[in-house]
């Protein structure tokens, strides 16, 4: 079958649904007008699901995912779930405020939106759009442009809810915020989650996002997160992806940084069938700094793609990207990382590295660093490696009585450590250390000990 036909099928299918669900979608995020959605959907019809002929998706085959049958739910049905099942998302030694999003809907038994004493607002995106339309409209779709990409267009056309966080000027979240994104359903499910995180000038937050599947189905989540970091704002985001091997997660994060802001993200991909992570960072103010770190541990037939763009639009901003991966069995990975230094962005310092270890000769990795530099006074570097565990180091360890298995674990763990060490919140770092070490030992089941019968 011709690939184009398949794409059109998906589009036709979604088009029917878009028209059918018009009223319900309009109610979900009102005050913005249906117009935004219609525009976005028009973009989607034009762009479709990106095929592997689009350069950034060359090694990220999305079509097969969209050709599966999924249920799409347009109303939140508050399925009962047992919070105790979430012990696996526990972070001992760290006080966190825990929030839930279930199948893309913000979930809290008592309220839709919470305003803390210092003015921090958090909760449902749809509710925030209703209660704070000005704030919402100031940022929504400003950083993730639906005209630029079929997945963003699709999300913007269909998104009904997600997580919203707002920090007023000079506020600090004293506890880390833990957001648990869960997928649970009695059938295959496609979702379009939309998150918006706004940090006004000089505010600070630590956010931990955990992605879990709680049941045994094929899930396809296509999420978009927009982040605004005002002047001198500081945000750290650690994301843990631990989903079943039939789930597909497409997660795009768009970050806008003003002067002297510092944003760091640390994405730990432990399990998941198909993962596509996109990080799009616009450094729009002098002195802004961004760290984008990622660690992926994959085996069996898993696929992981990480795609980055760090856009240095102004002078004197710095960035650092570090991605590391261990690929076992028949796993396939890709890294497409771009540094863009615009003409005026003098004195930029931008670094990128992607290092991989293949544990079998069937595992595959495609890594593609791209530098586009239009300024002349810049410091940039990128490096990528794909290799095996160092056999001299293995022998050295074994010659001291350490078993081959343990020696390999020590080396793999050492390899991953650079990414884990960059997590600034200690309790969180220790927890990630423990999970990664369990994962490397094969002691972490796909749904991490969840009793829900996940595959």
């Amino acid at each position: 079958m011709d690939m184009m036909v398949e794409i059109i099928d998906t589009r036709e299918d979604l088009k029917k649904e878009f028209i059918q669900q018009r009223t319900i979608l309009d109610q979900a995020i009102p005050g913005f007008g249906y117009q935004k959605r219609e525009q976005a959907f028009a973009h989607f019809l034009k762009l479709g699901i990106p095929s592997t002929r689009v350069e950034e998706f060359k090694y990220t085959p999305l079509e097969p995912l969209f050709n599966k049958e999924y249920h799409r739910s347009y109303t939140f049905d508050p399925i009962s779930f047992d919070k105790d099942l979430l012990f696996n998302c526990d972070v001992p030694n760290l006080e966190t405020q825990v929030e839930f999003v279930v199948n893309s809907w913000y979930y809290h038994p008592e309220h839709r939106l919470q305003v803390l004493s210092n003015g921090i607002i958090l909760g449902s995106l749809a509710e925030a759009a209703k209660q704070y339309p000005e704030l919402f409209q100031k940022h929504y779709t400003k950083y993730a442009n639906p005209a630029s990409d079929g997945l963003i267009a699709l999300n913007t056309a269909f998104a009904q809810d997600g997580f919203f966080l707002y920090l007023p000027k000079n506020t600090v979240m004293d506890q880390a915020l833990q957001l648990i994104n869960m997928m649970m359903s009695d059938r295959n499910l496609m979702t379009q989650q939309r998150n918006l995180i706004i940090l006004e000038d000089n505010s600070e937050a630590n956010l931990l996002v955990c992605e879990h599947t709680m049941s045994n189905h094929d899930f396809l989540s296509n999420s978009v997160t927009e982040v605004y970091a005002g002047k001198n704002a500081r945000l750290h985001l650690t994301k843990m992806q631990n989903e079943n091997n039939d789930s597909s997660q497409l997660a795009a994060v768009f970050i806008h940084q003003e002067a002297d802001s510092q944003v760091s993200t640390n994405t730990i991909s432990l399990h998941g069938g198909f993962i596509y992570n996109r990080f799009d960072v616009a450094l729009q103010g002098r002195g802004a700094h961004n760290d984008t770190f990622g660690l992926y541990l994959t085996d069996r037939n898993q696929h992981i793609s990480n795609r980055t763009l760090i856009d240095h639009a102004v002078p004197d901003a710095t960035s650092n990207q570090t991605f590391k991966g261990v690929l076992d069995d028949d796993a396939h990975g890709s890294f497409t990382g771009k540094i863009l230094v615009r003409k005026d962005a003098q004195r930029t310092a931008a670094y990128q590295s992607n290092n991989n270890i293949l544990l079998t000769d069937r595992a595959k990795m495609n890594t593609k660093p791209m530098l586009e530099i239009f300024a002349d006074d810049v410091k940039c570097s990128h490096g990528a490696t794909i290799g095996q565990l160092d056999s001299d180091a293995l022998f050295y360890l074994r010659s001291r009585g350490i078993s081959q298995k343990e020696a390999r674990l020590l080396l793999m763990y050492a390899f991953t450590y650079e990414v884990i060490a960059a997590i600034p919140v200690e309790g969180l770092r220790l927890r990630v250390e423990e999970l990664v070490s369990k994962r490397l030992r094969g002691e972490l089941s796909r749904c991490n000990d969840c009793t829900n019968g996940c595959r």
Partner: protein
């Protein structure tokens, strides 16, 4: 303790060890000398189970057991230790974690309980003093950024921690300053008991002033071509290897 009979080993089809035999008994110190490229490090690698080399013929027995097919870790756990000529840097693995894992894996194989944290740290402290190694080094990743001499001293520290029966020290003296040489040699001597044995591979007589060998062997072209007492080392220092080479290459010429 160790018995090597007619050992042949090759790498990529090239034969390096060509019929090597050696007997080492408990309580003995053997020195192996020989020109560059003669196969000294290869012997050390083969004895400790490096699979880069293929043993094509011969027998290695350690304490009565044929260890020829054993994995490196099993040989280590049986009590064989190699002080590497070129110790490996392993960024991201801390010395402490490395030593704890090594000790406890060895103890596990011997059906012993792992050392408690307190016992382990106590042992670290003791052995650090013995080889006069700085805590600054043992708090770092394995050999990472260590100077040449620090790496060598770290080998002896590991030996002290693991208390092997047979230690093979491959040019542990090269790269050491005079003080360090004395400290390392002292460490080796203090760890000596009537139950263990040491093979020191060296190019210099100087080390043998501190570690007195019972036997000195000359390894040349993959064979031990001469064995004698400690006086041989002095003779080699003075005369070099040419006279031995000539004798081996041309056995009919009598000296």
């Amino acid at each position: 303790m160790l018995s090597i009979k007619d050992l042949h080993a090759s790498i990529q089809g090239k034969e390096i060890l060509r019929g090597l035999s050696l007997e080492v008994k408990a309580g003995e110190v053997h020195a192996i000398m020989g020109p560059n490229g003669s196969g000294k490090s290869t012997l050390a690698s083969v004895l400790t189970g490096r699979d880069l080399f293929e043993v094509t013929h011969g027998e290695i027995t350690f304490e009565g057991q044929d260890i020829g097919e054993w994995a490196p870790e099993d040989r280590a756990r049986a009590g064989i230790f190699l002080g590497f000529q070129y110790p490996i840097e392993i960024p991201g693995v801390s010395m402490t974690n490395f030593m704890r894992t090594a000790l406890n894996e060895t103890r596990k194989a011997q059906n012993l309980e792992p050392l408690s944290s307190k016992e382990f740290l106590q042992r670290m402290r003791e052995k650090k003093e013995l080889v006069e190694i700085d805590s600054k080094l043992t708090n770092r990743s394995v050999n990472e950024g260590f100077s040449g001499g620090e790496k060598k001293r770290n080998e002896i520290f590991q030996m002290a921690m693991l208390e092997p029966k047979l230690a093979i020290l491959d040019e542990t003296d090269s790269g050491l300053d005079i003080d360090a040489l004395r400290i390392v040699a002292n460490g080796v001597n203090r760890l000596k008991t009537p139950e263990n044995a040491t093979i020191v591979i060296t190019h210099y007589q100087r080390l043998l002033d501190y570690i007195i060998p019972d036997f000195v062997h000359v390894l040349y072209e993959g064979r031990i071509v001469m064995s004698a007492g400690k006086e041989l080392a002095l003779e080699l220092e003075e005369k070099g290897y040419d006279w031995i080479k000539k004798q081996v290459d041309n056995p009919l010429i009598t000296l």
